[in-house]
């Protein structure tokens, strides 16, 4: 019998084995967590050599986001445009390969001075390498850092913060949930703030949050979290600028390098 070498000898569709797992001991994870505690954040700007600006943000607990900015490039339309693409790596989430993430270009648009770039196009690509909870918030912070690193004129940095509400009546809102908390959550919220101007750049929430007072409280908690994360991002930008200055002064033309 002739073998058909083009076909893979296996089933046509594949599923992740976690779907067949018996939901048993999942429940009780990190019960003693303070609602307003932030996970440690690592931010580094200026690491890709091929892009005009780049940033990498990592949250303690496994969320890793890489962002690159190219531009300004010439475009045909009259106004400056910011094109954002948020992508998840196929292996980023636990379980099956996920669908593409939501578009959140509106959260970054208020921060960029597009009026200074007529007939130009800024392309931003964010890639979520690993989703350990609050991936969208980390992606927004990384995107703003990458734009700043590229030298695009901005009004302020955008800091993103994720929240989720524990299930059950009267569940409390938790800041920067981990992946397990997010999966079990009754409601999720992502807040993007421009801390220097105290303006909310983006807001996206869904789920059974309860009455509006509870959502208002969650937004306040998110804004506070953003304010606390702001100095970390600023310092990473400063360090990137110092690194760039040191590298530029390295070739031994001048006498000393500026440190």
């Amino acid at each position: 019998m002739a073998l058909d070498h083009r076909r893979v000898p296996g089933p046509e569709e594949s599923q992740a084995p976690l779907l067949y797992a018996v939901p048993g001991e999942a429940g009780t994870e990190v019960p003693g967590r303070e609602a307003a505690s932030l996970r440690p954040l690592l931010a580094r700007a200026g690491l890709l050599s091929q892009a005009e600006g780049s940033a990498y943000v990592e949250l303690g607990g496994g969320t890793k986001v890489l962002c690159a900015v190219r531009g300004p490039r010439e475009a045909a339309e009259g106004r400056g445009r910011l094109l954002c693409e948020f992508r998840r790596a196929p292996f980023s989430a636990r379980g099956a390969r996920p669908r593409p993430g939501p578009a959140a270009a509106e959260a970054l648009a208020p921060a960029v001075r597009l009026a200074r770039y007529p007939r130009a196009r800024l392309e931003l690509t964010a890639l979520v390498l690993q989703d350990g909870g609050s991936a969208l918030a980390a992606a927004l912070s990384a995107a703003a850092l990458a734009l700043a690193d590229a030298g695009v004129e901005m009004f302020d940095l955008v800091v993103g913060c994720g929240l989720c509400r524990a299930p059950g009546p009267g569940g409390a809102w938790l800041l920067q949930p981990s992946e397990a908390e997010e999966r079990a959550a009754a409601a999720r919220l992502t807040v993007a703030l421009m801390p220097g101007l105290n303006q909310v750049a983006g807001l996206l929430g869904s789920g059974q949050g309860g009455p509006p007072e509870s959502w208002a409280q969650a937004v306040r908690l998110g804004l506070e979290g953003c304010q606390r994360l702001y100095p970390v991002l600023r310092r990473s930008l400063l360090r990137a600028a110092e690194r760039r200055a040191a590298e530029a002064a390295q070739p031994p033309l001048a006498s000393k390098s500026v440190t």
Partner: protein
């Protein structure tokens, strides 16, 4: 979003009027335009509705078909949304112009309906893991006159209320294979309970006040809007910020009090 070109003088006129709580057509800031809802307009569907809100005209058709349940939720049926921005609505939607808007609307609808309390999807299941009802909700934008999200949410709720799903019986053979029998009586059907389906309210920020149900001209003057989906019991299920501007946190809290 479809837009009109306004001169600076017209924008100033609208903004000043709103500051005095007087809009161009004489409404107050928190008044809706006259809404007309008509159900059962298309005979080939399981349910349909047409909503006219000022100049905005939306037609929604729901078709119930049998399918296989999704692997993650074997005991539930599901809904699939599709939005078609036809070129009749505005000339901007010709060809692929309306796709961005359509994707945004579809994502918002999915976010609202992915909540378990919105629609009882367990009642859509016929045989766990094998058969279930899939409701294909198709939204057609006939005319775009501002405030699309509100009109679409009202139309979807009305169409789901109007949906008649035929009753089926499952017969088991001796070998265990199941057969599905449709009842002969065309009026023997189950209706969906849409009490918990939320309605969307879009609040647009114009100047320093917010307005409900903005027309196209008012949308062109507004910097940003907040979209809230509210159930009849007053709980919020979804929150999203639209537009390229930023919002002051105080105005967000003010908007949430209004709903």
């Amino acid at each position: 979003m479809a837009s009109v070109v306004l001169s600076e003088a017209e924008k100033v006129y609208i903004v000043h009027g709103i500051q005095e709580d007087l809009r161009v057509d004489g409404r107050g800031c928190e008044d809706y335009r006259c809404i007309e809802v008509e159900t059962d307009v298309v005979s080939n569907t399981s349910g349909s509705a047409r909503v006219k809100l000022g100049h905005t005209d939306i037609l929604v058709g729901v078709k119930a078909e049998m399918g296989t349940p999704k692997l993650e939720n074997p005991n539930e049926g599901y809904l699939e949304f599709f939005v078609d921005c036809s070129a009749n609505a505005t000339p901007e939607f010709e060809g692929r112009g309306g796709e961005e808007l359509a994707t945004e609307i579809v994502n918002t609808l999915y976010r609202i309906f992915s909540n378990e309390s919105t629609i009882d999807v367990k009642s859509l299941c016929i045989n766990p893991r094998e058969h279930c009802w899939v409701l294909y909700v198709d939204v057609l934008l006939l005319e775009c006159g501002g405030n699309l999200f509100d009109a679409i949410s009202i139309a979807v709720k009305a169409a789901l209320f109007n949906t008649r799903i035929p009753k089926v019986r499952v017969l088991e053979d001796e070998e265990g294979s199941k057969e599905i029998e449709l009842s002969d009586d065309p009026f023997d059907c189950i209706r969906l309970n849409v009490d918990n389906v939320p309605c969307i309210i879009t609040l647009s920020k114009i100047g320093c006040r917010h307005v409900v149900d903005a027309t196209l001209q008012e949308e062109a003057c507004s910097l940003a809007s907040l979209l809230l989906s509210v159930t009849s019991r007053g709980t919020l299920t979804c929150m999203k910020k639209l537009g390229n501007g930023s919002l002051d946190p105080e105005s967000i809290f003010e908007m949430m009090e209004v709903r």
